[in-house]
């Protein structure tokens, strides 16, 4: 049976869900350094959908593509431990400050360079920005259709992919010809665990930058076992218009950032009177806890 070429778009993100009291500085702002960097949760749901296609259609290859700093290679290895075949780390200072549109442009150009793909699968959104824009924008840059809010890729037949979408009030099943972009919701099945054999196989997988810092005893491995080489691409490796990248390529600018100051410890005791309840809801709305 013929396999498919799948690209999984993934992002390494700070674990914003872990912003508990210990991750806050004394002034009540977020201590970003204290937050662990993780595989964006919905991108793991996306990877699982790709792995299920690979289960069904042997010969399928899965490439994890991520854009970020050098350490983002961690999530490519994480993907390999769960069944991805290879990865591309797109990393360059020129990407710094990119908004979703400049990011999509860089990813789109990378995919054009990389060539053949049947299905691009990504998480619906990343937990650091929650915008859900990069998937559809990449699809537009490539001029191919998109299916967002996917819960399950149900089948692939005669060049068409059938996808179940989970929307606010119900579900939709749609059919779309390849190539296409699918973005996956958190309501889709969780990603399978790491596989012990794959960990053994890929634990030394590295980008070229990482190899320069690696233990010399292992360097011969990268010639003997080409699959341990994680591609590391910079703007030199893709065709780009530099004006479209980074801050200059970003139509949106951040004018102001205000840290949400959380309450200091020590409970406020209030009564159920109208005045107290009104005051409570006002406070929660003002500090952006609700509303």
């Amino acid at each position: 049976m013929k396999g498919y070429k799948i690209i999984v778009l993934a992002k390494q993100v700070p674990d914003t869900r872990n912003v508990g009291k210990d991750a806050m500085k004394a002034d009540g702002t977020v201590n970003r350094a204290a937050l662990p960097a993780i595989f964006n949760p919905e991108d793991l749901n996306a990877l699982e959908q790709a792995l299920r296609i690979k289960d069904k259609f042997p010969g399928t290859t899965i490439t994890v593509l991520t854009m970020g700093p050098g350490r983002a290679a961690e999530i490519i290895r994480e993907g390999m431990f769960r069944g991805a075949d290879d990865g591309i780390l797109l990393t360059d200072r020129a990407f710094a400050g990119s908004d979703t549109l400049a990011t999509s442009y860089a990813i789109g150009q990378t995919l054009k360079k990389h060539g053949a793909f049947d299905i691009i699968i990504a998480g619906r959104q990343a937990i650091d920005g929650d915008t859900a824009q990069v998937g559809p924008q990449v699809a537009e840059k490539l001029g191919i259709p998109q299916i967002t809010y996917a819960e399950e890729i149900q089948s692939i037949e005669k060049g068409k992919v059938t996808v179940k979408r989970r929307l606010e009030r119900g579900v939709e099943v749609v059919r779309c010809p390849m190539p296409l972009v699918v973005t996956v919701n958190s309501s889709a099945p969780d990603c399978r665990a790491r596989n012990a054999k794959l960990i053994m196989k890929y634990k030394h997988a590295k980008t070229i930058s990482e190899m320069q810092d690696a233990n010399e005893d292992y360097l011969h491995l990268y010639n003997d076992r080409p699959y341990l080489n994680i591609k590391e691409w910079t703007v030199q490796d893709i065709e780009v218009d530099m004006k479209e990248l980074g801050l200059t390529g970003s139509p949106t600018k951040v004018k102001k950032v205000e840290n949400v100051v959380l309450q200091s410890k020590g409970a406020k005791v209030i009564t159920s009177s109208d005045e107290d309840m009104d005051q409570l809801m006002r406070e929660l709305i003002e500090n952006h806890t609700i509303g």
């Binding site: 949400v260 409970a267 159920s272 709305i285 806890t289």
Partner: protein
């Protein structure tokens, strides 16, 4: 002056709630900017739809009516909106932060190379000074939204690209009719000029209403109930509050064992571990097994008749009183303060 534009989401030939809220906001922005408010409705069997749209103060309504345009699919709606925006050149474009708007918005912004800000909680007109370029931009749209898991509030602007696009969730803006007799003009679009056959490659196979599985792990706000809630009926109050706040309902093991709610909502050592932005514990004493599953919540409100309940020791707000009295008040004052 270029107009303010609202994409009206249509469901079963009706204008969606979020679109009416955006029309209201759009009208206010247009009035402040002294420009027209325009709207677009794309769908099928839209005869008379203007009666639901003009009263919000819409000056021009563009209608694209075709059997193939309903229900919503990405490509034809994108083609129509992109072409229309190229012709009309709006300065601001608003869409619902729904599964439709969040599918369409990024696609349109990519095609037009205009900036889009998702899930705005506030939209304000203001100036911006770019000191480096020694340039002052007047009357920009400040797009204000939470980011970084709700830990920061960012104000985003698009100084140079148009339209300035933003999506807003349902319930964030207030819906208000400007004038029931307000009359605008209708512009019927020739759909064949705005779309191509290639836009219709995605087939809709099935569509139905289906309730989501409970997802308390992903909820930013959790209203959780314990044995102290007292009955299955009283739990309805928790569901009401959760719905109003956009959260989920959770429960302690005692409440689940009493049959008040299903097991999928159980929080604690034997249930799910959660870390929401806000945890409202209703009638939960707060035994260690329950606290293990929720104590990392960013903020905790404890509502209990017992002022000595263990949950109070980890709470940020302690309310001593009856859940049945307090929850309706929370709903009432939340609504009073947001609209």
């Amino acid at each position: 002056m270029n107009s303010v534009f609202v994409y009206c989401e249509i469901e079963d030939s009706q204008v969606a709630e979020v679109s009416m809220e955006l029309l209201t906001k759009g009208r206010a922005l247009a009035t402040e900017l002294k420009c027209k408010l325009e709207a677009i409705a794309i769908g099928h069997q839209l005869d008379g739809i203007e009666k639901d749209i003009f009263p919000y103060g819409v000056d021009v309504l563009h209608i694209a009516d075709d059997k193939r345009l309903a229900p919503y699919t990405t490509l034809p709606h994108t083609s129509i909106v992109v072409k229309l925006f190229q012709e009309e050149k709006p300065q601001i474009a608003l869409m619902g932060a729904s599964s439709v708007g969040r599918d369409l918005g990024p696609r349109v912004s990519s095609a037009l190379h205009s900036g889009l800000t998702a899930d705005c909680t506030s939209l304000v007109i203001g100036d911006h000074e770019d000191k480096k370029a020694d340039k002052v931009y007047e009357n920009l749209l400040y797009q204000i939204r939470p980011a970084f898991g709700g830990n920061i509030i960012a104000t985003i602007i698009n100084p140079d690209c148009r339209p300035q696009m933003a999506t807003v969730r349902e319930g964030v803006m207030k819906k208000e009719i400007l004038d029931p007799k307000y009359k605008g003009t209708i512009n019927k679009l020739d759909v064949s000029k705005y779309t191509t056959d290639l836009d219709f490659v995605v087939e809709m196979i099935e569509r139905h209403i289906e309730k989501s599985k409970v997802n308390i792990k992903g909820a930013g706000i959790i209203v959780a109930g314990g044995y102290g809630v007292g009955s299955k009926e009283n739990f309805n109050l928790l569901f009401e509050l959760a719905e109003v706040l956009g959260g989920e309902v959770g429960a302690s093991r005692a409440a689940v064992d009493s049959g008040y709610v299903e097991h999928g909502r159980q929080i604690g050592q034997t249930g799910t571990t959660v870390r929401p932005k806000l945890y409202i514990a209703c009638g939960i004493s707060g035994q260690i097994q329950h606290r293990a599953g929720m104590e990392e919540s960013a903020q905790i409100i404890a509502i209990n008749t017992d002022p000595e309940a263990p949950i109070n020791s980890i709470a940020d707000y302690v309310i001593t009183g009856d859940v049945a009295e307090i929850l309706p008040k929370m709903i009432k004052f939340y609504k009073a303060n947001t609209k």
